[in-house]
């Protein structure tokens, strides 16, 4: 059953009074219910045909017409406007009615209304209507001229406007200026003048052009032109986006204005027909447009679109009408796809397969494009994974680094002129002390690049690493001949001579040590290492002539201030030549190591840090000598920052008792400061086989919370790690990296602290090195970089250390059998290919007591 149609007038009540009907109609108009208002006013007219009622009904008609036009019901809106005009013929036409008529192509009707009723319009409406008809007239609409008197400004000034437009189109700027000058200010063509001026100024003064365009009102007859100009003058990168809602005329105009040629516009039209192109549609488009785009280019770009879903996407090319992928294309896209994964071996295998394909048939001639392609492909896995730049050779024949080095070396057979690859390989082997291989590669490289500074520096380093000091000196001279201000080479050579002198002293060959010392002096004219040379010279004197040596050393010690710093530097030199320091210290008047005063302490700690930064640990007998005096200096009035730096330096030096003393002293001054609670706890309990009392763990837990609340993530994280290790499933007081918890390898038995060894390794590798050898994905790298910005580099290193200890899944424990996937960490840093199958039982036990 049909639902009865609702009538427009809900309250059709002929018995209502005129006042009630008027009030109801006014309420409906106010609420925007024009349809109902029209019906109510009609009822009112039946009982009271007053002029004001007719005007009110005309107002309701106008409201309804606008409502319909806004819904796109143009014809229905026009009928309502016509009803309004018939109801009150004297009413001036509304602009919306006229605009609608123009939109519907009834230009002549508008012209007639303009001619008859323009005088009834207000000035603004008259100007707007004038611009609407002027634009039509200029655009070639004959009805305008036909319906207007010959003296109408639209016709009179139309000739000037047309001349201006033609002058702009043909690029005749003087004529354009003249024609624009002839258009009066109150002309119906005033907006055209603004647009043309804007177009003239667009390239030189875009902001001024935008201002001129903004002066053209939305109701103006020249508004469509203004909008198209704004599109065409918009930034090229947003043009396509802004064109989305534009019509054909505006788009053509804007694209032409923006410098788009016919071909470009034609392709864009096709793309628009396709809609938003996904990769498969793009492949089809590339094939269809291959003649325009170029066959090879279109094909190559299509291959790049296949990467994300390869090999499934391989069918897209044939589906789009192209020929099937060749074997070479398949291998290339497979290699690209492998690079998007995380398994380094997939990348190696894919590029090796591609290189093998390229090498089918006769060997490519050196220098040919094919040979270069082969070389580049062979180098690609290493360049992409960036392993050899800082990897330490694993010496594992199946290791990733070994394979990459093999591929890079093979690439040099096809492209021996790539000096970077030569140096990369040489440095890699040098890092692993494989001097034989490094020398072999160096010889090959220097034969091609005899005057290359980088290769000569590598040669110097190889010579120094092999204690070939004569050869090193020769290379240093070659370097300095090419680069006279190369202080790095000089300094390395001086240090090497000093190291050699110490070696000779340990062997008792004092004359040879003296010779090395002289050579060191020769290469150190600027005296950069004078202090160390002086101390070593004094110790050499002491070995040959006690009195002379004592005098020389006293002089040196005096120069160093005579305090704990002098004692420290001298003690380090003694340790380096294997001579007990106490006797030497005594000989130079330092009966015991002085307790540093407030003035000495910062200098001493800076020296200590400098020594540790060089990568050398502090010898045990040096630690023994300095622990006591440092403990005694713990109450020096340091600032909070200095105290924290002191604790950290003492931690790095392994001076646990001094560290504890400094942390306790700091806690007296700044009670419960988290970082000092942590230092005190670590110094007290690290490396001791006793469990801390619950009270101490409670203090540490409070410090952890306080550090987190204060934003000190590094301290919070370190404290949390310690607390976890003492938890019910923790691994107890022996906070040892699991990487070093191999039953077959008792590092502690060898006198090595596994935790410290892991820390030293990680610090030596640096963040970049560690990320490289762990095969961290770009996303993981970005995450860690973000973390670095938040908690600092030290903080990130601590987190990485914790991850290595705990073997988080993303990076994995550095067990030698970790297969495919990211390259595991560990000395040597690369996975063995032999262990590429995953082992399900690789998981670490969580309750160590049970195993």
């Amino acid at each position: 059953m049909k639902k009865p149609r609702q009538t427009a007038s809900v309250q059709k009540a002929p018995d209502q009074t005129p006042e009630a009907l008027r009030a109801a109609a006014q309420g409906q108009v106010a609420a925007g219910r024009y349809r109902e208002a029209i019906a109510t006013y009609k009822d009112l007219l039946k009982v009271e045909n007053a002029p004001e009622t007719r005007l009110a009904l005309a107002g309701a008609y106008a409201g309804r017409a606008r409502e319909l036009a806004a819904k796109g019901m143009s014809k229905e809106a026009l009928t309502i406007w016509q009803n309004r005009a018939q109801l009150v013929p004297d009413l001036p036409p509304e602009m919306d009615y006229l605009a609608l008529l123009l939109r519907l192509g009834q230009v002549r009707t508008v012209v007639d209304l303009y001619a008859r009723g323009a005088s009834r319009l207000d000035a603004a409406a008259r100007a707007t209507l004038g611009s609407l008809l002027a634009a039509r007239h200029l655009g070639g609409e004959a009805a305008v001229a036909a319906g207007l008197p010959s003296d109408d400004p639209i016709l009179v000034q139309g000739a000037n406007a047309s001349q201006a437009l033609d002058a702009y189109c043909r690029g005749d700027d003087p004529a354009l200026r003249d024609a624009l000058a002839a258009i009066p200010f109150r002309s119906p063509y005033r907006d055209l003048a603004q647009v043309l001026k804007a177009l003239q100024r667009a390239s030189a003064a875009p902001a001024e052009a935008a201002e001129l365009l903004a002066k053209v009102d939305d109701n103006s007859g020249f508004a469509p032109l203004r909008r198209a100009c704004e599109l065409g003058l918009s930034a090229p990168e947003t043009l396509l986006e802004r064109l989305a809602g534009a019509g054909d005329a505006a788009r053509r105009f804007a694209l032409t204005l923006a410098g788009w040629g016919e071909e470009r516009q034609a392709l864009w039209d096709e793309v628009r027909r396709v809609g938003d192109p996904g990769p498969q549609t793009m492949v089809r488009l590339l094939h269809r447009q291959r003649t325009r785009l170029g066959e090879d280019w279109a094909r190559r770009q299509a291959l790049r679109l296949l990467v994300p879903g390869f090999p499934k996407t391989a069918a897209w090319v044939a589906e789009g009408g192209g020929r099937r992928l060749s074997e070479e294309e398949r291998l290339l896209v497979a290699a690209w796809r492998a690079e998007e994964g995380r398994n380094p071996w997939d990348i190696v295998d894919a590029w090796r397969a591609y290189a093998r394909h390229l090498l089918r048939g006769p060997l490519p001639e050196l220098g040919s494009e094919k040979a270069l392609r082969v070389a580049l492909v062979l180098r690609r896995p290493d360049r992409h994974l960036d392993i050899l730049s800082d990897a330490i050779p694993s010496r594992d024949p199946d290791g990733l680094d070994t394979e990459l080095a093999r591929l890079v070396e093979a690439s040099l057979d096809h492209d021996p002129d790539d000096r970077d690859s030569h140096e990369r390989l040489i440095r890699y082997y040098l890092r692993g002390k494989d001097l034989k291989t490094a020398r072999r590669l160096l010889e090959r490289a220097l034969a091609r690049f005899p005057a290359d500074l980088g290769l000569l520096t590598a040669a110097l380093d190889i010579a120094l690493a092999g204690d070939s000091f004569k050869k090193a000196a020769r290379h240093a001279r070659e370097i300095l001949a090419l680069d006279p201000i190369n202080t790095g080479a000089q300094e390395r050579l001086v240090k090497a001579h000093l190291a050699h002198a110490r070696k000779q002293m340990r062997a008792g060959r004092l004359d040879l040590a003296r010779k090395e010392l002289h050579l060191a002096a020769e290469w150190d004219p600027a005296g950069r290492l004078r202090e160390r040379r002086g101390l070593l010279g004094g110790l050499l004197d002491l070995a040959q002539d006690q009195a002379q040596g004592e005098a020389a050393l006293r002089e040196q010690v005096r120069g160093l201030g005579g305090g704990i710093t002098a004692a420290f530097v001298l003690t380090l030199e003694c340790a380096a030549i294997g001579r007990p320091a106490p006797a030497v210290l005594k000989a130079v008047g330092l009966w015991k190591v002085p307790i540093p005063g407030q003035a000495d302490l910062p200098g001493f700690l800076a020296r200590l840090r400098n020594h540790l930064d060089g990568g050398d640990p502090l010898p045990a007998d040096v630690r023994r000598l300095f622990e006591g005096p440092l403990k005694a200096a713990a109450h020096s009035p340091l600032s909070l920052g200095e105290a924290e730096a002191a604790c950290d330096t003492l931690r790095r030096a392994g001076l646990a008792e001094a560290r504890l003393a400094f942390a306790d002293a700091a806690l007296k001054r700044w009670p419960r400061t988290p970082v000092f609670v942590l230092h005190a706890f670590e110094a007290r309990y690290e490396d001791r086989d006793r469990r801390p009392p619950a009270r101490e763990l409670g203090h540490l837990s409070d410090a952890c919370d306080a550090a987190r609340a204060a934003g000190d993530q590094r301290t919070a994280h370190r404290a949390e790690e310690i607390l976890r290790s003492y938890g019910p499933y923790g691994y107890g007081p022996r906070r040892v990296g699991r990487a070093f918890e191999d039953d077959d390898l008792d590092l502690r038995g060898l006198g090595i602290d596994p935790d410290q060894a892991l820390r030293t390794f990680v610090e030596a590798m640096g963040l970049d090195g560690l990320l490289n050898i762990t095969g961290a994905s770009p996303k993981e790298r970005a995450h860690l970089r973000q973390l670095e910005r938040e908690v600092g580099r030290e903080g990130v290193m601590e987190i990485l250390l914790a991850m290595l200890r705990n073997g988080l899944p993303d990076f994995g424990p550095p067990s030698p059998g970790r297969p495919k996937g990211p390259v595991p960490a560990g000395p040597g840093g690369v996975s063995g290919k032999a262990g590429r199958e995953p082992r399900k039982d690789d998981d670490e036990p969580e309750q160590f007591d049970l195993f």
């Binding site: 939109r103 634009a135 039509r136 200029l138 655009g139 070639g140 437009l165 033609d166 702009y168 189109c169 690029g171 177009l199 667009a202 390239s203 007859g221 020249f222 469509p224 032109l225 198209a228 065409g232 003058l233 019509g247 005329a249 505006a250 053509r252 105009f253 032409t256 204005l257 923006a258 410098g259 788009w260 071909e263 470009r264 392709l267 864009w268 793309v271 192109p277 793009m282 590339l286 447009q289 325009r292 785009l293 170029g294 090879d296 280019w297 190559r300 770009q301 790049r304 679109l305 990467v307 290339l332 690209w336 690079e339 270069l372 392609r373 580049l376 690609r380 992409h384 492209d415 790539d418």
Partner: protein, 97 residues
């Protein structure tokens, strides 16, 4: 735009000299102080094509999928802003959009 040949307006067989000349012309047309982003793109394109090895590496290892802008530029590079003709003006003046 991701294709360095398109950035510098070079044919695929351009040699070192052509690449260098195109780079200098592009920098002269768009110095860094005028449009830093565009200059960066020009610089990156130059680095990608500077040597024969670099050009081969670009061909072998660049897996950046083409953008619509690449296709458009390949068909016909963007020209200098152009004055539309009277026909295009008239279409808009008659109310067409």
């Amino acid at each position: 735009m991701s294709d360095p040949y398109l950035v510098l307006g070079l044919p695929p067989d351009a040699d070192d000299a052509a690449v260098h000349a195109a780079y200098l012309a592009a920098v002269a047309a768009c110095p860094p102080d005028r449009d830093a982003r565009r200059f960066e793109a020009i610089r990156a394109a130059y680095e990608a094509l500077r040597t024969r090895r670099a050009r081969l590496a670009q061909d072998l290892f660049d897996r950046t999928p083409p953008t619509l802008a690449d296709l458009l530029d390949k068909v016909e590079p963007l020209g200098t802003p152009c004055r539309p003709d009277r026909r295009l003006f008239n279409a808009l003046l008659r109310g067409g959009e």
